[in-house]
Symmetry: C2
């Protein structure tokens, strides 16, 4: 009895630990870990605040929504995450998707977060993560490259201070060039300066040599300063630009386009909006959901894809294992709980996860610090956001998305596998029309490339008096019409009719549509008093054909025997190995002649 309850207790413990990974690492937590987690958490916090403001602009939402979306992921992932490096929060790609599905309305965006979370949770519970396997690498690359161009170009207008530019990419390019004369000099100068500053710091960070013990203290200190400045470059740029704008404001003139007033304080904790009131009346839940359309598939799936891809990449790099399924649960809970604090859909951020790993984070506890930084900025800094110039945020975004554009992939695919250029190009080009169409079309094209060999298997035709027809691979329903046409063309449409031996050596499975197609073909041959003989049937394929009860069905194990039988005189009785392996005397007239 005591033994049983102990086993049960152990199992319960194991299951709880699997679902709450924090229970595994928290008891072992040490002071040394705390030190690293603190530094990493702070660093990521200083990056996420300016990025969140900027991504909210990409999503077409007021800037505070970026911050509302940035803290819940840190706290939930602390409890549920299986990777020490991953940080959840707003990302460039998710913001782009939100901008195209939420029609720039925070209510839609928050509801989308809630529904995406529910779908991700359900997928996690139903173990549907395998669906991600059907998104091939060329599709992902085509999508991220196009997204980098779209998001980057989208910021040019803010960098130049242009107004009234439409959202659609092609129109955007057209109008940006049309209105280039309306560029506001101050915005453009500040924006370009920020851009140069960011790129410069990024390059400096790359060129810091590995520190050696032999180096003097001052050299090491200078390296540390450069490293710190480069790591917190986004915060520095935004701070600097804000100070410049504030100085002008104090002097009584304002040459920059500013972010403007932002509501003070933390977001209220309330359920997501299941209906909304507009000047034209109340929009019901059903209408809101309908307006999101395929966003309810694309947003949760892309969210999962980003998180799982990032988690796997860093797990492999830092030598630990993640549990994809648990990651889905963490994502789902983040989005659901996030929607209660007005968050829009979030996912794993590649840039900040890399920063987290680089700064030497030891456990997901680093996220607690990051979350606290975001909450503190929301509580005390929102009034200062007024002075952040839009051009500075644009520069932050452009630097963040630039590495996502990968021109080399086109060359690589040209060298390695040209056929994969098709899904890549389709995805890349259509993403400029609408992001979601690009992804869906890419997945469909790669699906078609997968299905083509199934629908059009190679079929070998040999003419040894009787026609021998041999499909080179399986026979599935999309192939049956093709097989029928081939048989028809070869055996029944010429001046001379032929009997047919269907060699099924390579057919490992068969479905009912194929059975039906074969039986029709079979009857047509009977009708014309020609033979249609199966050879090389594998046991379970023969069983399926037998179950279909074809009248006069004849299967001969060996191809040579089948040919011999067909070559014999048509009017003498002869022995045939029937489908059940027994030998049978056939009547002289009828099926086989």
């Amino acid at each position: 009895m005591a033994e049983g309850s102990r086993v049960c207790w152990k199992q319960c413990c194991g299951a709880t630990k699997k679902r709450l990974p924090v229970l595994k690492w928290l008891p072992k937590y040490s002071l040394q870990w705390l030190q690293f987690d603190l530094i990493a958490g702070l660093t990521v916090g200083l990056t996420v605040v300016p990025q969140a403001l900027a991504y909210a602009v990409v999503a077409g939402l007021p800037v505070q929504y970026g911050l509302y979306s940035s803290f819940m992921g840190c706290f939930v992932y602390f409890l549920l995450g299986t990777s020490k490096d991953v940080t959840l929060g707003p990302t460039a790609i998710m913001s782009l998707l939100v901008s195209s599905y939420a029609s720039h309305d925070p209510a839609n965006a928050v509801l989308l977060a809630f529904l995406s979370g529910c779908i991700q949770l359900a997928m996690g519970l139903l173990h549907l993560g395998f669906l991600l396997d059907f998104v091939s690498y060329p599709v992902i690359k085509g999508f991220t490259s196009a997204a980098a161009v779209t998001i980057g170009f989208n910021q040019i207008k803010a960098l130049l201070g242009l107004q009234n530019i439409p959202r659609q990419f092609v129109l955007q390019v057209y109008y940006t060039f049309c209105k280039i004369g309306e560029t506001r000099a101050a915005d453009a100068i500040l924006g370009l300066f920020c851009l140069i500053f960011l790129v410069g710091l990024q390059q400096m960070k790359k060129s810091i040599p590995r520190s050696h013990r032999m180096e003097s203290f001052s050299v090491r200190i200078s390296h540390l300063i450069v490293w710190t400045a480069a790591t917190a470059r986004n915060a520095l740029v935004v701070l600097f630009a804000g100070l410049v704008a504030y100085s002008f404001q104090v002097m009584g003139s304002q040459p920059f386009t500013l972010t403007g007033a932002t509501p003070q304080g933390l977001p209220p904790f309330q359920p997501p909006p299941f209906s909304k009131v507009t000047p034209n009346g109340t929009v019901s839940f059903q209408k809101m959901v309908q307006a999101m359309g395929d966003g309810l598939v694309v947003v949760p799936l892309m969210g999962l894809l980003e998180t799982v891809a990032i988690a796997k990449a860093f797990a492999s790099q830092n030598n630990y294992q993640i549990d994809s399924n648990q990651e889905l649960l963490a994502m789902g809970f983040t989005n659901i709980l996030g929607s209660f604090v007005s968050s829009y859909p979030v996912t794993g951020s590649f840039g900040r996860t890399a920063l987290n790993a680089q700064t030497g984070v030891c456990t997901p506890a680093g996220g607690l610090i990051t979350g606290a930084v975001v909450l503190l900025s929301l509580a005390y800094l929102t009034s200062l956001f007024y002075y952040i110039p839009e051009a500075a945020l644009a520069a932050v975004i452009i630097c963040a998305v630039a590495p996502m554009f990968d021109a080399k992939i086109f060359c690589t695919l040209w060298q390695v596998k040209r056929l994969d250029l098709l899904p890549l190009s389709v995805t890349f080009l259509l993403c400029f029309w609408e992001v979601q169409y690009g992804i869906i079309a890419g997945v469909l094209v790669s699906g078609v490339l997968l299905l083509y060999p199934i629908a059009r298997p190679r079929i070998k035709v040999l003419n040894h008096g009787a026609l021998v027809i041999q499909p080179a691979s399986g026979l599935n329903f999309p192939a049956i019409e093709f097989l029928r046409e081939t048989v028809y063309k070869q055996a029944l449409s010429g001046p001379q009719l032929h009997s047919v031996i269907l060699d099924c050596t390579h057919v490992s499975d068969i479905d009912y549509t194929v059975v039906l197609g074969l039986s029709e073909l079979f009857q047509e041959f009977q009708h014309k008093r020609l033979s249609f003989i199966f050879t090389g049937l594998q046991a379970h394929v023969r069983q399926v054909l037998l179950a279909a009860n074809l009248e006069g069905f004849c299967s001969i194990p060996n191809l040579n025997d089948a040919e011999k039988i067909l070559k014999e005189e048509p009017c003498s009785p002869r022995e045939v190995f029937f489908d059940d392996g027994s030998e049978t005397i056939l009547p002289t007239s009828g099926i086989i002649q």
Copy 2:
């Protein structure tokens, strides 16, 4: 020169005849053919008029739209059709689809016909007919069986004279039973009588014995009368019911629910409505198209599916060849031109095509007579349609759709191939929710069944000291994660690490996602100082891997050699057949150890 122009002329002639099949058979037309075509055309005409009225009710449109849709197909198919038997026109299934996509508005239905026609024409020109191969037989059966139940039950309310029953199937069943007390006795009695009459005549037709020359003249005449009455049973029932209703009207009381006033005359010839005016303002073309949604995929595809399936069935039965592509063109033109005479989408009708074949039609010229009958009824009979009781039309529909319900298919699939019950059941059940969801879900489920073996290939793992891992079939991108996990679990996660030999004997093709996954796996093994050796690579697969430039990539043609190399002492140089077939001395440290 003259020779050249003669060849050119011949080619032109051939191409024209291929596109206008009427040119092939019209020059050979004979008086005997005319006689058969006349009888068949008349017979089909007498069937199509009452069916058209009834199907318009199914489509949720005023009854005259059924007739508007019934004549264009006859004339177009006369010029463009390649099957003598097929008759195009309104059908039960297409009417059901129209009712769910056109929201009971003739303007939507006519525009849907135009757009479907354009899509079908484009598919014909682009040779996209192969898409139909992806609709498997269980999906078709599930759909037609569910449609039979839906359409049939939909008519119960008209048969019983019930009012205000919602369209959605589940609600319909519920409300029909709730309101069964409100049954109008006269409608119910007339409806049941018509039903019994129709079933009786159908059974009588089946039991007419084959006529023998020995039989007396009177017996043969009586057989002919029964056959004629049974063949024209729909027209007879509608005529009879109309007469009864008219008699009551003359006597001053009307116990039946009548069809009501129908506009007199032929439809105007005008372009389809590209926008429409409603009490709430003008609805633009874009809005109308958006409202149709996936109808623009489902309607053209189902139309093609029905026509091609029917044409193939009768071509095979009556021993002639059809050209699927030309059938698509005929369908497309019918719908486009039809939309100019207010037709809703049409397709091949199984029932009327069978009747046409049975009556001995010789050429598509029979359609001209059918079309003329429809036009004459529109011109002179519409005022009489007022008196047709709805219950009689309901009886006509129920008899027409009953044979579409096939309960046996469930047993057949259980015996022959149980897995196919899944797409069948999914399609069947979801069709009761919304027809289109049923079809789409069925196609997706059968697609998943096709893709499953691609995503999860069988992988053989042998442990001969080194692990030998052998995928049993091809390696495509959906399988790479699965392969990686298998390798990881077998070789890297246990207490003892293993080198791996990947035996690619059965891998006939490889894509870039797989290359990338393999190269990551490869690097992980290098990182851990373990070997990862490829064997059995087919020439073009090896070429793709070589093009990807994996550092230290090692392919050994023969599995035994690979095992031997791995078993040798790790620190002695040894000979390896490198990917290019040459023998090379490997350094002792590094990749292979």
